[in-house]
């Protein structure tokens, strides 16, 4: 149960960090290139720590590399939002970051009170990092939304395209209810109100419309992913699988 829960958090961070790493050398300015890869590295650090802790709870001898490189799509527990490709569209990258970080920040703030002191420590450190991720993404969303006609059009398109995936972030199930009851983890439904408040504030200032209608229910937490995850994992895992056991 604890392992399952931690893998969801770790997979979210790992997959989003990989999406951000794909921006290296492609960002609009070199300073933004470094900013995006910095955010990716922060998330990678969180993923590594969470995988290590998940391996300790599982007690089956798996380490961070085993989790990251040797599992297949159906074993991954990330939400669909972080898998979505951005096709080098900066607006999608920034809106995706806004929507995710606005969820991750209150989640980690709550998680830093976990009864597991390791998890609490990882979460507390993550809070400082994610505060910056959110500020960065919100700033860009506002600049793009309240920008030129083209940037407004593209950022609204990004919000519309990603909105359906936001519902999954806050879904509770047996796993989240169990870990929340024990004080080990956080039921994500409890951070929804804070997410709504922060995202609505940013969208309003960005002159962007919040899409109507309910986001669709998620499937990522039980291992059913979008097609894109397959390509992402093939690229990410290839080298490790080609040289099993290799170290730097």
């Amino acid at each position: 149960m604890e392992t399952e829960y931690l893998l969801r958090l770790a997979d979210d961070a790992l997959i989003l960090s990989h999406r951000l790493a794909q921006w290296a050398s492609r960002a609009p300015q070199i300073e933004e290139d470094i900013a995006l890869t910095n955010i990716g590295l922060d998330l990678l650090g969180q993923a590594r720590a969470l995988f290590t802790r998940a391996g300790e709870w599982e007690d089956a001898g798996r380490d961070e590399d085993d989790f990251a490189y040797l599992r297949q799509e159906r074993d991954f527990r990330c939400c669909l939002l972080v898998e979505q490709p951005d096709r080098d569209d900066f607006a999608i990258a920034m809106v995706r970051q806004l929507l995710f970080s606005a969820y991750q920040l209150p989640l980690l703030q709550e998680l830093s009170r976990s009864t597991d002191s390791e998890v609490a420590g990882i979460a507390a450190k993550g809070v400082k990092e994610v505060r910056y991720h959110l500020e960065h993404a919100a700033g860009w969303t506002i600049r793009l939304g309240d920008g030129t006609d083209e940037s407004h059009r593209r950022s609204q398109a990004a919000v519309d395209a990603l909105w359906p995936y936001t519902g999954e972030l806050f879904e509770s199930d047996d796993v989240t209810r169990a870990v929340a009851a024990r004080g080990f983890g956080v039921d994500p439904a409890t951070v929804r109100a804070e997410w709504d408040r922060m995202v609505d504030t940013v969208l309003a200032e960005a002159t962007l419309d919040r899409p109507a209608g309910e986001p669709r229910t998620g499937t990522g937490r039980r291992g059913v992913h979008s097609e894109q995850l397959g390509y992402l994992l093939a690229e990410m895992q290839y080298l490790h699988r080609l040289h099993p056991g290799a170290v730097w």
Binding site: P28, Q29, E31, I34, A35, N38, F90, G139, E150
Partner: protein, 101 residues
């Protein structure tokens, strides 16, 4: 970023000079420069580019056009005359015994 669309003009993204004060330092030192459209983003970019390795705890960013620098051509007239005026240095004064500085 696709190939279509105009490139950002340098007037939209002017140059800023970045100064960072180290944790144990008293003064901000010049560490480099970057482009940004406004002060907020300049500060964030400076944080991302120039403090990745814990270089500092405080950042100043200044638009490069706000800085007026002395010209290398004027170097002789500006700085050489100070070379042989040793009386400007506080090295001849003897502090009497018992005086607390």
């Amino acid at each position: 970023m696709t190939a279509d669309g105009p490139r950002p003009r340098s007037s939209d993204w002017p140059l800023w000079e970045v100064f960072v004060r180290a944790r144990r330092g008293l003064s901000h030192n010049h560490v480099g420069s970057l482009h940004a459209p406004d002060a907020t983003l300049a500060l964030q970019n400076a944080r991302d580019v120039y403090t990745r390795r814990q270089e500092g705890v405080s950042i100043w960013v200044v638009p490069s056009d706000s800085i007026t620098a002395s010209s290398p051509d004027e170097k002789d007239a500006f700085f050489d005359p100070a070379a042989d005026k040793v009386y400007r240095h506080p090295t001849f004064y003897q502090v009497p015994d018992g005086v607390q500085m």
